[in-house]
Symmetry: C2
Subunit: 150 residues, 2 copies
């Protein structure tokens, strides 16, 4: 187990060194991939939101499990907004490619708040979850408002 | 960091206590969710396979990152095969609901091999990755052959 944990630390460090854009064979593969990541994010973020907002009973194990998925997938979409992925079956707005620095900043804002939310959701404290949920939701909304079609 | 790791252990233990089937508002939500999880699995499993089979250069950081995603998502689909999710836009075969014990066993076989693959992919050793990839792929294929439409 000690070895697993040591490995986990190495992995965490390595993950930050990954390139932002992975290779996809076809633009539609990238679109499908980022939408899949968003689907899982929506589901597990929604689950935390329901607990934070009192619409579902708080369950620490569920919150921790939601957090695990969010930790693993929340930055995956941003590997999949490469060239040529602006067309097709996507709600992505052209602004993503026109305002890349702003888009990157928006993803980093979300990453920062999501990291806090993940820790809060694993803390076993509903109060911490409540405190972290709103600021994270704001970063989702800010990006959607500007970069996603209605 | 120590606290984070301790939390990770608690989370791992808690995740195994989660119910197999989560609640979805509509059957199509469950179908979309499990397909999203499979999309991410396919992508990151494929990435490990390309490295294991010499079709892509081995990169320990990429392998570890793939492993992180696989660890988080590989059992998610099995929360989403509840009643009423056999119809609609799905390649799931009726056998899933007719042979539930067999389907569960197939998911557990995959879980077992995937857990080994995740460890191998985080080990930094291409040889370990190669050794673990094939047996995992076999559990994917066994389930697809019997429970997924062509």
């Amino acid at each position: 187990m000690k070895k697993l944990l040591a490995t986990a630390l190495v992995v965490t460090a390595a993950a930050t060194a990954l390139p932002a854009a992975a290779q996809f064979a076809k633009p539609e593969d990238a679109i499908k991939y980022r939408q899949a990541a968003f689907t899982l994010m929506g589901r597990h973020f929604g689950s935390l939101g329901a607990m934070a907002n009192g619409k579902a009973p708080y369950n620490a194990a569920t919150a921790a499990s939601d957090a695990d998925v969010l930790a693993a997938v929340h930055m995956l979409p941003f590997r999949a907004f490469g060239e040529g992925t602006d067309l097709g079956k996507t709600d992505a707005k052209p602004e993503i490619w026109k305002e890349q620095a702003k888009f990157k900043q928006a993803s980093e804002n979300m990453d920062g708040e999501m990291t806090k939310l993940v820790a809060a959701a694993k803390s076993g404290s509903l109060d911490q979850l409540k405190a972290a949920f709103g600021p994270t939701a704001k970063t989702c909304k800010a990006c959607h408002d500007h970069f996603r079609k209605d």
